[in-house]
Amino acid sequence: MAEISVLLPSVLAPLAGGQPVLTASADRPVTVGWLLDTVGGAFPALARRLRDETGAVRRYVNVYVAGTEIRRLQGLGTEVAPGQEVLIIQSVAGG
């Protein structure tokens, strides 16, 4: 079965057991929401950093699929194909 990779920012890797990349098996396109549920399931402290308890992606967390942030696509319903990578990048924000 093919895999989809989720690349984490280095600051979050410790919450994923030190892994900078998490993978989920998928033989057909899945949604970003399903993907985050799947890779975050084993790491709830990581999942809480990405989404709040309503499931919404936190304001300054950006999720990129094929180079486009999902807020400009279909949000958590954006589809990801097997073999693709999903990037999680924090916004340049704060001070």
Partner: protein
């Protein structure tokens, strides 16, 4: 390497947590930052159950809010995997910020209260590792009409009486609410407190209360620092009267009470809501020893000029004799008094904005001399 009593001062700032320890409340050793670049809006020091637990509300702009705790004076930190405070699914709400972490009375070890944004009160029975939403306040019919202060819509003060039946909560901007059944149901208690910014200046609720505190020795006596107004209630919040006369300003955020002595409270006045600086740029704490009938200006050891304000939880008292008084400014200075405010010494300077401070006498964890480090600050 003997274990002895020491004093712990936790300093939460806009960009991290600092911890200071002192054997005498005069000379302080500072370590930190912990949680660098995260906002620390709340800290609780729980010395019950034979251990010292530091509970910290941590909020990252990127990664959201959470609650950490340490049982080894900050050497290591833990958080529950699924989070200490999570809104239940049916509320369709998300935690924004933990404004208050309040260990309950000694007679109820393990019970810890939290006040949060959005406006909500939470109770833990496992020492602050997991909290349950208080449904009585969350489902209150007034909730839709509670407003947000400039800092956010938060329950920021929780006062529980020794028996545990009466609980007072203060929120910005909803006012004071009281429960007489341990938190099951709540009613507004703001009679006598002005809300000049409302169409009706004497509403049932909607007052902008900045902080409330209970008199430890007089049952039913409370004090409140409001957005313009300093008040006292002698009947559990049923009625409030102004005690601002004698103060240089009735604005401010801080309200502290003595851990044991009746009638003693502290405020730190600011000029006004439009000019949030100490009056004339001169920082001073004011203490009453007669329940607000008169006030004494205390500024020994404080800087001649200070234009930064002191936020609502950036001040505290400890439980020692005489009581210690502590506060920090938005300019990152922290001051401590070992004699109830008569004389202050500078604990730290040039930190980020101080959001909260908490102090307590603790059983010091023995640390080998070689490992004692940090920037020592002498009085």
């Amino acid at each position: 390497m003997a274990t002895s009593e020491s004093f712990l001062l936790a300093i939460g700032t806009k960009k991290g947590l600092w911890l200071a320890t002192s054997p005498d409340r005069q000379n302080w050793s500072l370590t930190g930052p912990h949680f660098l670049m995260s906002e620390i809006p709340s800290v609780g020091i729980d010395t019950r159950d034979g251990r010292t637990r530091i509970l910290v509300g941590v909020r990252s702009e990127h990664w959201g809010p959470t609650v950490f705790h340490s049982d080894d004076l900050g050497a290591t930190w833990s958080e529950p995997e699924n989070g200490a405070i999570r809104f239940p699914e049916d509320t369709d709400a998300a935690l924004e910020r933990v404004w208050q972490i309040h260990p309950d009375a000694d007679s109820r070890p393990g019970v810890v209260w939290a006040g949060c944004e959005p406006i909500s009160v939470w109770k833990s029975t496992d020492g602050g590792e997991h909290f349950e939403l208080n449904r009585g306040l969350w489902d209150h019919p007034h909730r839709g009409e509670w407003g947000a202060g400039y800092g956010g819509a938060a329950a920021h003060s929780i006062v529980v009486n020794p028996d545990g039946d009466k609980v007072h909560v203060a929120m910005s901007t909803g006012g004071v609410y009281r429960s007489i059944d341990g938190g099951a149901s709540w009613e507004p208690r703001n009679k006598g407190i002005s809300a000049y910014f409302m169409p009706d200046p004497n509403p049932e609720f909607g007052q902008c209360v900045h902080k409330i505190a209970a008199d430890a020795a007089v049952d039913g006596r409370l004090y409140a620092q409001n957005h313009h107004g300093v008040y006292r209630s002698d009947d559990g919040g049923e009625n409030w009267q102004s005690i601002a006369e004698g103060l240089p300003a009735d604005f401010g955020f801080v309200m502290l009470t003595h851990p044991r002595r009746a009638g003693t409270a502290w405020v730190i006045p600011l000029k006004a809501d439009g000019e949030r600086i100490p009056p004339d740029g001169k920082l001073a704490v004011h203490r009453t020893d007669d329940a607000g009938a008169s006030w004494k200006r205390l500024d020994s050891g404080l800087p001649q000029a200070e234009f930064n304000s002191v936020l609502r939880d950036a001040a505290c008292v400890d439980g020692a004799e005489p009581a210690g008084v502590y506060f920090g400014t938005r300019g990152g200075s922290v001051y401590a008094s070992a004699d109830e405010g008569e004389h202050f010494t500078e604990v730290a300077a040039h930190l980020p904005d101080v959001l909260c401070v908490r102090a307590a006498a603790v059983a010091q964890v023995p640390v080998p001399a070689a490992e004692r480090s940090g920037a020592a600050v002498s009085a």
